[in-house]
């Protein structure tokens, strides 16, 4: 394990007892290294083992086997390190609906007392965009606002690692952009961020590296630009011909366009040139795997 590894996982497995089917393998041998200061995204379909993996890293779940270290400490055997370790991490769970009768300010201020290096609660409330809801009861917040409060409670303790489980579900596009800026600013302060998400544009906008996980196994770890050989993938040149729309897959789109220009003697009708998106690569990988769950 290198000093730069904030999270280090080797051979992680977890199987749940299932009344109907005997046993369900949720995590089937995962290796993972998240470097200090990076934003790392875990992508995968529902039931792929994302949440189980993350909850093991967060110290919520036991594992069956494997080696796990988060900030140099094994979250499966915290013992007396429990409080000091939790003081260094921040967790944003998938959904919470609690303490609905407290106000935003009361809740954030209260949580700030749990940590030794708490940020200024009012600044955190402003940073997540809830400044105008400071004195609103939590029960009056919209889904997206509640989510932002969840994030505020996750970052109030100035965590060294922040776990974000599908953080922007229920956000409108503007709120998502603002949220991405917030996450980037946390990274620039040195926070390591582990993110699970369904949104591939989110992974692309934020993550330094992504892991695709399916059926409890990691299929690939890469940068968003290179995932699934995306950087080497053929470009798609499409245009309108007399017989209808024509698509050419090519490694040299510029040359293809030059040829088309001479063929059409100038303007090419409805020309588009595209590269596969992260989503295209992701779907190809998941489908290639087949859905065994």
């Amino acid at each position: 394990m290198t000093v730069q590894s904030a999270i280090h996982v080797r051979g992680l497995t977890k199987t749940y007892a299932d009344k109907k089917n005997g046993a369900k393998v949720a995590v089937a041998g995962i290796d993972l290294d998240v470097h200090q200061g990076e934003i790392f995204a875990i992508l995968g379909p529902n039931g792929a083992g994302k949440t189980t993996t993350v909850e093991i890293l967060e110290g919520y779940r036991d594992r069956d086997s494997g080696e796990v270290s988060v900030l140099g400490i094994d979250p499966g055997h915290l013992g007396n390190d429990d409080r000091s370790w939790r003081n260094r991490i921040g967790i944003v769970l998938q959904s919470t609906g609690d303490a609905a009768d407290l106000t935003v300010a009361e809740t954030v201020h209260h949580f700030s007392h749990y940590y030794t290096k708490a940020k200024n609660p009012d600044q955190v409330i402003a940073a997540v965009g809830l400044a105008d809801k400071t004195d609103a009861k939590i029960r009056t917040l919209s889904g997206g606002q509640r989510r932002r409060l969840d994030v505020a409670l996750g970052i109030i303790g100035s965590p060294e690692i922040l776990f974000l489980d599908e953080p922007t579900t229920g956000f409108d596009p503007e709120a998502r952009r603002a949220f991405w800026e917030l996450i980037k600013s946390l990274q620039s302060e040195g926070t390591t961020i582990l993110l699970t998400t369904h949104y591939l544009d989110e992974a692309e906008a934020l993550a330094n590296r992504v892991a695709v996980i399916n059926n409890g196994k990691i299929i690939e770890v890469s940068t968003p630009e290179n995932l699934g050989g995306r950087n080497d993938a053929k470009a798609r040149v499409a245009y309108l011909s007399e017989g209808g729309r024509v698509e050419i897959l090519t490694d040299s789109p510029t040359q293809a366009i030059a040829e088309l220009m001479s063929k059409f003697n100038g303007e090419i009708p409805e020309l588009t040139v595209s590269r596969p998106t992260l989503e295209d690569m992701y779907l190809e990988m998941i489908e290639g795997q087949g859905d065994q769950s």
């Binding site: 967060e58 110290g59 919520y60 429990d82 409080r83 000091s84 939790r86 003081n87 991490i89 967790i91 769970l93 959904s95 919470t96 609906g97 609690d98 303490a99 009768d101 407290l102 009361e106 209260h110 949580f111 007392h113 749990y114 940590y115 030794t116 009861k137 409670l153 303790g157």
Partner: protein, 262 residues
């Protein structure tokens, strides 16, 4: 500076009370319902059941014992499963807050609501239904240990029972009938000695019967001890039963408490 477990526990107590007061249903259900019952039963059944003892006096003593069960057992066994359902507990467990601080907060909530409830029942009982407030130090002392042990027992059993309801929404449906049946069986709504033997035997397993009997030993004249099933207040046995439940409840609570439902 490391935030101390006690200080965070006190802060949690403040948060718990704030939330409690803002939930109108819980204030009405936990605080006013027993007072309402006191008015209904106390106004309907005014007859004497023994020389110098009216049914309303008997009933008020039972309601004070029930107050300990309402504010501890019933309140916690209903609200903790809801907090588990909402993810409140899971989130708290993910912070450096010690679980001990969480329970200190709950104990503060129970203590405050218990003092308010028992105080209200004492005042209304004394003013309107002829409850004799004790004058001897010995009786006050007995009252004090009954309230303290009864609250501890009720709180611990509430925490222990909180892992029984499958969902937060269903918790009230599981817990409330248990409390009501125990109240009927334990000499709150009826005179205990007039109940069928099997009902008495069943109730004797549980703390409420001993608490009601204990409260009668505080608020009714000593001559009434002869009307009890054992012809005695059985203070020693009450102490024993409550202690056993506290020990068993603590073991079960520690083993079964869950911070999340999955």
């Amino acid at each position: 500076m490391k935030p101390s477990i006690l200080r965070i526990g006190l802060l949690r107590g403040g948060i718990e009370i704030k939330q409690f007061l803002r939930q109108r249903e819980s204030v009405v259900f936990t605080m006013l319902f027993p007072i309402m019952l006191l008015f209904i039963f106390g106004s309907v059944f005014k007859d004497s059941i023994a020389p110098g003892v009216t049914f309303s006096q008997y009933f008020v003593a039972g309601m004070i014992a029930s107050g300990l069960v309402n504010t501890g057992f019933q309140q916690l066994a209903i609200t903790i499963p809801m907090e588990r359902d909402f993810g409140t507990l899971k989130r708290l467990r993910g912070t450096p807050m010690s679980p001990v601080s969480y329970f200190i907060g709950k104990i503060i909530l129970v203590t405050v609501s218990m003092l308010v409830q028992v105080g209200l029942l004492l005042v209304f009982g004394a003013l309107l239904f002829g409850l004799n407030v004790p004058t001897s130090a010995e009786r006050w002392l007995r009252f004090a240990w009954l309230v303290i042990l009864g609250s501890i027992c009720s709180t611990i059993l509430g925490i222990a029972f909180s892992s029984v309801p499958k969902s937060g929404r269903g918790a009230s449906a599981v817990v409330s009938p248990i409390v009501i049946v125990l109240q009927f069986f334990s000499g709150v709504f009826f005179i205990f000695s007039s109940l069928p033997k099997w009902m008495q035997d069943f109730a004797s397993i549980f703390p409420l019967k001993w608490l009601t009997q204990g409260m009668r030993s505080v608020f009714l004249p000593d001559s009434f001890a002869g009307k009890e099933v054992a012809h005695s207040w059985e203070s020693g046995r009450t102490l024993l039963v409550l202690s056993v439940w506290i020990v068993l409840g603590t073991i079960f609570a520690i083993r079964s408490f869950k911070w999340s439902d999955r």
